[in-house]
């Protein structure tokens, strides 16, 4: 299902629609087919105008079996179109999904515009001439469904045909079976007269330029390659496979011709430690993971704080605690990112707001890490990582040069002092091994200000604690102000961060369309906050902070600014919906 979902998305993207997707699948690789636990779904929202979410409730739902029907029918508004694979509603299928009576026959679906299509048997029939096994022919039913949907939405078949031909180049029988099913699906739509009017979604009026469809994980990978390139550093990415972050490793491992070295480490701790060693030696050192891995990396990140070395840690958040729901999304690692290390160990935290914005957020994380010689945590999440949207390709020649010079000379009468800071950034010199004359030793033990020698002096420790904090706090003067969508006269400010951006934006648009007033502030920088955040908060009597956690940003903002921030929280492993966001905003406006 994910495969055909991707195909339809790509097709719509190239067709010029704006879109947003929500792939949703079980953590188990082969969860029992036909059961509720095994349902894999792909939601795609396409539009002829600028959209920001995968949509709350679909106009069309395609279900391949009773379990899929049961798991998703609640989301389908009455009167919408329901397309059912009627071949898979045998008694055995119904039992597996927990139905005692056949929902196709008991009238419970009377409120929908339902089409029963025997997708399996038509697919088998379509490849009869090809001499393939019945089982293989059956498998092509997803492409039948894709063909049917393409016809409904007037998508051209050619790109999919080309894709199938390339993908199954080495397996001609699979290629031909899928092509036959795809064609049968289209033909069925055209000839069976089941659908009165094909849907036609015209291209969206997006800003001019060249677009590609991109997921968050790929955008992070591209952001890292671009960041390393603009920092003039070799990129070393060390990671341990973990859902939903592994695609970053997969993508980067393809791009060795950029000088990228990827390493699949023996564990999460090793991955972070390898990054520390690489940073010490002059690489753009990056490790990527999800929540459980971030727990494990904490000590090595603390070392990087103490060594004051540049490093980026990508945390693709997923639902927790513990293993939690590995394929579902959450924003529950914010406090872990901000505070999850022993001692006073501040570091910058940056969060991406959309799949394509992962590129910009990653580039920004790299910039801060390199300039200030500090580990930076970049937060994305499972929704951004796997969801996709059109991305207006940036002009890469316009990307800033973010390189910093390595130290090559003595910096003091006494030789080389590894902790003699730049007075402006408070960053220490980056003298990499192999540089003649600058040999020095650094370690996790407290260092003397300036010389970097071991120091157990109380006053020195106090000074170093404050210096490390001041260095991070000072970054506030070197980042953009709060991203603001003001509304003249609005009492309510909705304050968000990360992937809730789309849902909040959609909710805000609906409220404004309904005559309400609401301002939207969205944070990319979670530490330090933009310098103007206090003023933005003070300008609004009411502040609502929607988060897919139990109020983590709200707690920090309340503590920092003494503002009575109210929270809107739902922690279900799913992104917010525009509808619930609208309702939450109205409730706050009318409070």
């Amino acid at each position: 299902m994910q495969l055909v979902g991707d195909r339809f998305t790509e097709l719509s993207a190239v067709f010029g629609n704006d879109l947003a997707t929500l792939p949703n699948y079980p953590a188990e690789i082969r969860a029992p087919a036909g059961t509720i636990a095994g349902v894999s779904s792909f939601q795609v929202h396409i539009s002829d105008h600028d959209i920001v979410t995968p949509g709350d409730s679909p106009n069309v739902l395609v279900v391949m079996n009773p379990a899929a029907l049961k798991a998703n029918i609640a989301d389908l508004p009455a009167g919408s179109t329901l397309i059912v694979n009627s071949d898979s509603f045998e008694e055995r299928d119904l039992t597996k999904a927990g139905y005692t009576v056949n929902p196709l026959e008991d009238g419970s679906l009377a409120g929908y515009n339902m089409f029963q299509v025997p997708m399996t048997s038509i697919s088998i029939e379509a490849s009869k001439e090809l001499g393939v096994k019945r089982r293989d022919a059956e498998r092509s039913k997803n492409f039948f469904a894709l063909g049917l949907i393409c016809w409904m939405y007037t998508r051209p078949a050619k790109p999919i045909v080309e894709w199938i031909e390339k993908k199954y180049d080495k397996r001609p029988e699979v290629r031909d079976t899928n092509l036959a099913a795809l064609k049968a699906g289209r033909n069925f739509g055209e000839t069976a007269e089941l659908f009165d009017h094909p849907f036609e979604i015209k291209p969206a009026s997006l800003p001019p330029g060249q677009y590609t469809n991109i997921t968050g994980n790929i955008a992070v990978a591209f952001g890292l390659v671009a960041g390393a390139h603009q920092a003039k550093l070799p990129l070393i990415y060390a990671s341990y496979p973990i859902t939903p972050a592994s695609d970053i490793l997969h993508e980067l491992s393809k791009h060795k011709n950029f000088g990228v070295k990827t390493m699949q480490a023996e564990d999460e701790i090793a991955a972070a430690s390898i990054a520390v060693g690489a940073a010490f030696s002059g690489a753009l050192a990056v490790t990527g993971t999800s929540g459980p891995g971030l727990d494990l990396k904490s000590e090595a990140i603390g070392l990087a704080v103490s060594l004051e070395l540049p490093m980026v840690i990508v945390d693709v958040q997923r639902a927790g605690p513990s293993t939690g729901l590995p394929t579902k999304t959450e924003q529950t690692d914010l406090l872990l990112a901000l505070y999850g290390r022993h001692g006073e160990s501040p570091l910058p935290v940056v969060a991406a707001k959309s799949a394509s914005h992962c590129f910009d957020a990653t580039f920004e994380a790299v910039r801060i890490a390199v300039k200030y010689r500090t580990p930076v945590i970049l937060l994305t999440d499972g929704y951004l990582a796997n969801g996709s949207e059109p991305w207006l390709l940036p002009d890469v020649s316009e990307l800033p040069d973010i390189s910093v010079p390595f130290a090559t000379e003595m910096n003091h009468d006494d030789g080389f002092w590894p902790y003699l800071r730049d007075p402006e950034t408070l960053a220490r010199p980056w003298a990499i091994p192999g540089t003649p004359g600058l040999q020095h030793r650094i370690g996790g033990i407290e260092k003397e200000d300036g010389t970097g020698n071991i120091s157990y002096q109380p006053e020195n420790h106090e000074r170093m604690v404050h210096l490390r904090q001041a260095k991070i706090d000072g970054i506030a003067n070197d980042i953009a102000g709060v991203e603001l969508d003001l509304d003249e006269g609005a009492e309510l400010l909705v304050l968000g961060w990360g992937s809730t951006w789309g849902a909040i934006k959609a909710g805000v648009r609906r409220v404004r369309a309904g005559g309400g007033k609401v301002a939207h502030a969205h944070l990319m920088h979670l530490n330090p906050f933009p310098a103007d955040l206090g003023d933005v908060l003070a300008a609004h009597p009411k502040v609502l902070c929607p988060e897919i956690n139990l109020g983590q940003l709200a707690q920090v903002v309340r503590g920092r600014y003494l503002v009575d921030v109210r929270s809107f929280n739902r922690v279900a492993g799913l992104p917010f919906r525009a509808g619930e966001m609208e309702a939450a905003l109205w409730e706050e406006i009318n409070r």
């Binding site: 390709l393 192999g434 003649p436 071991i454």
Partner: protein, 341 residues
């Protein structure tokens, strides 16, 4: 070499930092540090081309005393951090320093993976069979029954034999030396330096405060001839004041200590460091299950295998040659694209 290409020689002082050495007086670590600082001027390496990476523990303080690049890092992670160094800079000489707790307990995983990957690291494990920095708990190499602060009724864990662990991980170079023989240490460290790939060296090291005399049974001057089995490549394995003891192989292929007079010189095992199969080297490491019976010292194994970071670099170089250097514009537009006017 200097910038204009003339040879520059370095003396011992060039490798000593200005920091005061702070191990306990009488610690075996002093001897190991001295052996290293005596050796380095003899190698064709400048101080700035050396990186010492350590974890946590008494041994891990060593980098502070070397006038080289150094990282005193976190407990157990030195092999991983050093892997990051050598992946970034395959041209540098990277040494990893740690103790038995650092490398075989908290960091055991990183050690075996660095060895199996054959990362070009020279790993010195100072084995004193005790936790010194935390003031006297038993370690993963302590003998069963050891009475310590955390085991008042005797420890019940079976210890690791570090050389066996390293050979089990198929390390390409494995050796053992001890802190009472500076010349032997120097020679073994030199061999480690010359080896291309991961070199693991166990150094028996006396902790005179928390585990004094742990190696006396084999290292006391008068007992050494009968208790140390020197391994020399290409030579029959013999020891004793008059070389009256030897090592032969029984019908199961297992080495055992014998009297040369009983079995004859021809039946002695001839040591071959270069055997690609680690089985025989492993069996040799099993001759002694602790420093209280005749114990082999020297190089157990020295074989050539592809070196990790060189292979990593080769893939990068190969990709650049095949595809040309990366171009950001074509990278970001590598998927399907469309244009909005």
């Amino acid at each position: 070499m200097s910038e204009n290409g003339t040879a520059v020689t370095f003396g011992r002082k060039d490798f000593e930092s200005d920091q005061e050495v702070r191990w306990c007086p009488g610690c075996g670590d002093y001897g190991i540090l001295a052996a290293m600082q005596f050796l380095l001027p003899e190698l064709d390496v400048a101080p700035h081309e050396l990186v010492f990476v350590s974890g946590i523990g008494c041994a891990a303080r060593l980098p502070y005393y070397m006038n080289t690049y150094g990282v005193h890092s976190i407990h157990g992670r030195a092999p991983a951090i050093a892997t990051g160094v050598t992946m970034t800079r395959p041209d540098l000489h990277v040494w990893v320093i740690g103790g038995d707790g650092d490398m075989l307990s908290i960091g055991g995983n990183h050690l075996i993976h660095a060895l199996r990957r054959n990362v070009n690291l020279k790993i010195l494990m100072f084995n004193n069979q005790i936790y010194g920095l935390t003031k006297g708990q038993y370690s993963p190499t302590s003998e069963v029954g050891k009475i310590t602060k955390s085991t008042p009724f005797g420890s019940i864990d079976h210890p690791f034999n570090p050389v066996s662990v390293a050979i089990g991980a198929e390390a390409s170079f494995v050796a053992r030396t001890h802190d009472t023989d500076r010349k032997h240490m120097q020679e073994i460290f030199r061999r480690a330096h010359e080896h291309r790939g991961a070199a693991f060296v166990e150094v028996y090291q006396n902790c005179n405060v928390f585990n004094d005399g742990a190696f006396d049974q084999i290292l006391k001057r008068d007992s050494r001839p009968d208790m140390l089995i020197p391994l020399e490549h290409g030579q029959p394995i013999r020891f004793g004041t008059d070389l009256e003891h030897g090592v032969a192989v029984n019908e199961f292929g297992e080495p055992y200590v014998c009297e040369v007079a009983d079995v004859g010189v021809d039946r002695l095992l001839v040591h071959d460091e270069t055997r690609p199969d680690p089985t025989l080297a492993f069996s040799l490491s099993r001759l002694a299950n602790g420093p209280h019976v005749p114990t082999p010292v020297g190089v157990f194994r020295d074989v050539e295998r592809p070196v990790y970071e060189a292979e990593v670099q080769a893939q990068v170089d190969d990709a650049i040659e095949r595809q040309g250097p990366g171009d950001l514009r074509s990278l970001i537009s590598s998927g399907a694209t469309w244009t909005v006017d």
